[in-house]
């Protein structure tokens, strides 16, 4: 991780009156796994589509390993691997036929093509199922072949757009292992997800996106340290939630309180210590608690602290 491979400056994308991406600037280092985190509709996939050359930006500049993307799109595309969120395969062909086709599109041929197909099948652990039609695969196996296609031409940078949506634990684990192994071999990865645990496991740095803007960017550990308050999530049955909120706000360790219907998200430095005081308030007011949850400091709570809402909303 010693040089910049991708530089993004003031990137914006608008559709008539809707602004999908607003003034994004960030730099990706070679050999890094960089996470783009955000809820559905935050602008992650649009950002990735622009970076992969699928969409032209409205404004801004992208430089891939010294190449201005707007002027060298075809050259740049050969160095990019895209694994889209959709399972973009030909279901009536076998996995091997799919790989042959995509390999040829990237200019691979002959023995080199066969060698690469065998290698990527090994990476996604589907060598023994390669000759089966894709339409008999499970969702997870399809996602693994989806990943394998993105790796065929040995890209310098790999864009993974929500690669584990809807997959079984076995396939999810296989994808994690593949990404980690590829990164150890030097591949740069941009990984979009709304699963915080994935970002915490895989990413060296993350950018949190909401409403098309980056609202925080750092290593997961630094973000949790600086922004990651624990959250006590408390649901109250009756009309006393306003009184509970008022008293909770006065507790010394409480940094912030968000209210969503009958639920209070109480952001605190130490959840264990504050919990007893919160419960004493509810008992004193005879408020009936219907649900109680403690979220320890994590990227999930970082997002909650920054936006006031859950990542999966």
């Amino acid at each position: 991780m010693n040089s910049e491979i991708l530089i993004v400056r003031n990137l914006s994308k608008s559709y008539r009156t809707v602004s999908a991406v607003q003034d994004l600037s960030f730099t990706i280092m070679r050999g890094e796994i960089f996470g783009l985190l955000g809820p559905n509709g935050a602008g992650k996939s649009t950002t990735l589509a622009i970076l992969a050359g699928l969409l032209p930006p409205s404004t801004g500049q992208i430089t891939l390993d010294g190449l201005d993307l707007s002027k060298n799109l075809t050259t740049a595309k050969a160095r990019i691997g895209l694994v889209p969120q959709d399972i973009a395969l030909y279901p009536t062909l076998s996995a091997r036929d799919n790989l042959v086709f995509w390999g040829r599109i990237y200019g691979l041929r002959g023995k080199e093509l066969q060698k690469r197909i065998d290698e990527v099948l090994e990476i996604v652990q589907l060598t023994d199922r390669a000759n089966e039609l894709v339409n008999v695969y499970s969702g997870g196996m399809k996602r693994r072949i989806n990943l394998a296609i993105g790796l065929l031409h040995q890209p310098e940078i790999l864009f993974l757009d929500e690669p584990t949506v809807g997959v079984d634990p076995q396939s999810r684990n296989a994808i994690f292992k593949a990404v980690e192994a590829l990164n150890h071999a030097g591949l740069t990865v941009i990984y979009t997800t709304h699963y915080m645990e994935e970002a915490e496991r895989l990413c060296q740095r993350v950018a949190i996106i909401d409403h098309g803007q980056i609202i925080a960017m750092d290593t997961p550990a630094n973000l949790v340290r600086s922004q990651g308050l624990s959250v006590i999530r408390l649901s109250i049955l009756d009309g006393l939630i306003g009184s509970v909120e008022q008293q909770v706000r006065e507790l010394p360790m409480v940094r912030e309180v968000n209210r969503q219907d009958h639920t209070l998200n109480i952001h605190v430095q130490d959840a264990q210590k504050t919990l007893m005081e919160v419960l004493q308030i509810t008992r004193g007011l005879s408020a009936q608690v219907t649900a109680l949850e403690i979220l320890n400091a994590s990227l999930e709570t970082v997002f909650l602290n920054l936006t006031g809402k859950n990542l999966r909303e």
């Binding site: 075809t74 959709d86 030909y90 041929r109």
Partner: protein
Amino acid sequence: MVYQIVAVTIKEIKVLLRDKRAFTGLFILPIAFILVMTTALQGVFDAGGNNHPIDLLVVNQDHGAIAAKVVADLSSATGLTLIEEQDSQPITRAIAENLIAARTYSLALIFPADFSDRIINAASNPSAEKALVSFITDPAVGNQLLSPVKGLVEGYIDREASVAQAPIQTRQFFNQMASAAPDGQAGFIRNLGARFAAQMSGAQDSTAQNLGFDIQVLPPAKFQAVRYPSSAEQNVPGYMIYGVFFIITIISASLFREKNEGTFRRLQSAPISRTALLIGKLLPYYLLNLVQIALMLLVGIVVFHIGLGSHPLGLVPLSLATAAAATGLGLLVTSLGKNQEQVGNLSTVLSIVLSALGGVMVPVYVMPAFMQKLSLAIPQAWALTGFQDVIVRGQGFEAILPVVGVLMGFALAFWALALRLFRFD
């Protein structure tokens, strides 16, 4: 770029080979149409020919000789098979009506008992009641079958009636002259009339008579057909063109599948141009059209023994131009729709309606004038004309160039408009 085009083409062919719906629509359906329609319509197209003569029940109740002579004339005519007996018994009117009601036969000709008497009476009394000849026919039988038989019967009756009436009218003429002549000459004139009439009667073996003319049917000099088209020669090119243009349904389904499954979008992240992608994508369908044409002509040749005209090489540019128009129309139809359902319905309706308007199912010349004009804007109509020019009319390369030019014009217009409107997302 060529390598990528070939890669897309090979992939598309592999996908197509596993697409049973496409295979059915492009091959099974048109071949089934060719087999069924050609066989079913053989009677209509070839009716009256030596190979498929029209069966005509004949009920002769005439007490005189004229109806028998008409029947003798009809029996010597080509294209008719007269049936006068059933189980060695003469057919009666009741039997004929039963046979037609049972759909065993379609047509019966009835001569009344007084047929000869009335014709002979008419010779001397123009205002006498006419003989009434009847046709009994299944109401489902069209005029195309009835009219020629009716015309033939009328012609022979006219001839035999003239032959029977001529001596009577001659004798009457001389008798009238004799009445007006001086007494000494009246007998001579009557005798002269009787001798004329007797000589005419003696020479009235009408069936052996040389009338001094015959009829032949010829194509225009610039056509080189040695014979007129059979049912197969009409239907094989017709349904072949229907099958060729059915490709628009398959193309639109395939393009929308690529869009819906995200493969088009993913392909755009690869270093392949949109032009190469579209060429590679549509080339298999173009080739498939050519295979369709070859296969269906082969079915026509093997099953129905059709010929390919005097200049079969003319079929090559015609096939290339027809396939270009069909694939261009497929891309254009896809470009006009927003989703697969919309385009699926549009392409199915278009492939059937345009084929019908183009004369695939009903020949253009039997359509109303405005539909005939409309067919000039239908590529299927031009394609059908071109194939029939070569196969049926025996025309060569130069003669069909205008048709090839029009089809290429359609193709260019379709492709230009489609490429302008097509969206990859």
